[in-house]
């Protein structure tokens, strides 16, 4: 009796918490279909019809920025996955002098907060003439995000049986062949995890693009913040733009939900 009462109270409380959690989410969708006039005149009212023109206007406003973000993401993911897995392979399957100090040197990077490096990194990027260039984002991103790849790939490659590699070596396979044709294909799920975590970290970053890039080559997060600053004039358009810009992250997360949670729990990504 008391048990079912507790359950009932818990259920009500939980439902309230869930509704509160979802309020911003619902607002986002609701207002993305209202015109500015409807917002001003009747804040709570339903839109007279679904104003999809908000979406076409928003698409025009943010499509190039989404393109820029995707460009940066794809190159960073490719770089981080390739370089990370290559080093992961070496640390897993090779014996060489200074192996463990070198590994510590790599892993030690995780002790460096971006807070400490943001100012000098800006100086380096400036001196390399990479401000106003996507490479000013991509190269620093790869440096930090490769870490997750190195750690996860090392663990996985270490678990592979030596016979696999021995056989290929006897057949005259080069080290690069062993890495690219034997090790890599066996760890596709891990590579996908690394790719997803990297993609989400890079796509959501606001600070570094804001510091490095020009307004004319802005990423989606820059465009989104810009809309809210200048765009108090049109909530419907801004909200539609946020929804459009969130599509890539939603797709990536839905595609890799399982991988993503695994990767997040196993180690915070650096960017």
């Amino acid at each position: 009796m008391t048990g079912s009462l507790t359950k009932w109270t818990g259920g009500v409380l939980l439902t309230i918490l869930l509704i509160l959690t979802l309020v911003p989410f619902v607002l986002l969708i609701f207002f993305s279909f209202k015109t500015q006039l409807e917002v001003l005149i009747d804040f709570w009212g339903m839109p007279d019809k679904l104003h999809f023109e908000n979406y076409s206007a928003a698409w025009k406003a943010v499509r190039s920025s989404i393109g820029n973000s995707l460009y940066v993401c794809v190159i960073t993911v490719a770089g981080a996955v390739l370089i990370g897995s290559l080093s992961g392979y070496v640390f897993a399957r090779h014996k060489f002098p200074l192996k463990s100090p070198l590994y510590m040197l790599l892993i030690g990077v995780m002790m460096i907060p971006s807070l400490l490096t943001v100012v000098p990194l800006y100086a380096i990027i400036t001196n390399l003439h990479m401000t106003h260039s996507f490479w000013g984002l991509i190269l620093p991103y790869i440096s930090g995000t490769q870490l997750l790849g190195i750690m996860l790939c090392r663990t996985l490659f270490e678990s592979l049986p030596e016979e696999l590699f021995e056989a290929a070596r006897i057949d005259g396979g080069s080290e690069f062949y062993l890495y690219s044709r034997i090790a890599l294909p066996l760890c596709v799920p891990i590579l996908v995890t690394i790719g997803i975590v990297t993609f989400l970290a890079v796509y959501s970053d606001y600070l570094w693009p804001f510091i490095v890039l020009d307004q004319s080559q802005q990423t989606f997060t820059m465009a989104a913040v810009g809309l809210n600053k200048s765009g108090r004039s049109d909530i419907g358009l801004s909200f539609a733009a946020y929804i459009i810009g969130s599509v890539p992250t939603v797709l990536v997360i839905l595609f890799g939900m399982k991988y993503y949670i695994e990767g997040m729990v196993s180690g915070a990504v650096k960017s």
Binding site: K7, T21, P24, L86, V90, L105, T117, P120, R232, T249
Partner: protein
């Protein structure tokens, strides 16, 4: 024989070159620069040695006291938000029971995580908007006549930032607690219940001790995260009005990228890094959380 061995080593080192080139150029070299230039006046091209002046300036300036006080508020509330609310959420989901319902609630709570973080911040900025914000409209609809520019007034700004994300369940801590509770020994819990322990006792005597490792991880990660969190402040208020919502990291950003005092900014970065380092070492030595 020896030659062949060194050839093999050579290949290993060759494969490692890309990784090390990247971390040397974009991580370790900036660290050296940060430490060096924390003692200089620096405009990115030329620099002039000023000794400890930057640090003295940082600790003596009026903004430091405000920033430190605000940081304390942010950190304490961040820890409460990361522990209490996600834990209540996770416990309630298990209490309500039924696999389908559990799944439904869990999915609902993590739904906002689908959005990029910046979009969530911008949504809250809209909620606090003085004219078209949900909060003022809600107060208006309930009959209150006074409205606030929540993020623009000195008294309300910092608490508006703190309350962002209400009810604070959506996020990694919720998933961690949820997974941990699911991994508890169900037979033991059942046995306790048969022996007459009520729900509250089971929660305080069995759940809480069992979750201690998770609490430790979440607390230390939250503290470290909160010291480095200024993007949200930057977007919502820029540290203002005045310096009402600023924190040390925000002061660093404004010094470097607002007024081009790169040496001064580096010094604040170094000071914050030392705090983070001490906390990290303390954690590794005494708390021994594994993350």
């Amino acid at each position: 024989m020896n030659l062949a061995k060194w050839r093999r080593y050579g290949i290993s080192y060759l494969f490692l070159i890309p990784s090390f080139l990247f971390i040397a150029t974009f991580l370790y070299y900036p660290v050296l620069l940060a430490f060096f230039h924390s003692f200089t006046k620096w405009n990115l091209v030329t620099s002039e040695w000023v000794g400890l002046d930057n640090f003295k300036k940082f600790f003596n300036e009026g903004t430091f006291a405000t920033g430190a006080k605000n940081q304390l508020i942010y950190t304490l509330t961040d820890v409460v938000k990361a522990i209490v609310f996600p834990l209540i959420g996770a416990e309630l989901v298990y209490l309500v029971g039924g696999n389908k319902i559990k799944y439904l609630f869990r999915t609902g709570f993590i739904l906002p995580m689908l959005l990029p973080g910046v979009v969530s911040i911008l949504l809250w900025q809209n909620i606090y908007d003085p004219t078209n914000g949900l909060l003022n409209q809600l107060l208006h609809a309930m009959g209150f006549t006074s409205t606030h520019a929540w993020l623009g007034e000195e008294k309300t700004a910092i608490w508006s930032i703190v309350m962002m994300g209400l009810p604070f369940i959506s996020g990694l801590p919720f998933l961690i607690f949820y997974a941990a509770i699911g991994n508890m020994n169900q037979e033991q819990l059942e046995a306790a219940r048969i022996d007459g322990a009520n729900g509250w006792n089971v929660f305080t005597k069995m759940h809480l001790p069992f979750l201690m490792p998770q609490f430790k991880i979440v607390i230390i990660l939250t503290i470290l995260g909160s010291l480095q969190d200024y993007v949200k402040i930057m977007i919502l208020t820029g540290g203002g009005p005045g310096v009402a919502t600023t924190n040390p990291a925000m002061i660093m950003y404004n010094a470097a990228f607002g007024s081009s005092q790169y040496g001064y900014g580096s010094a604040i970065g170094v000071a914050l890094f030392l705090v983070i380092l001490v906390l990290t070492i303390f954690n590794l030595k005494f708390l021994k959380t594994d993350y």
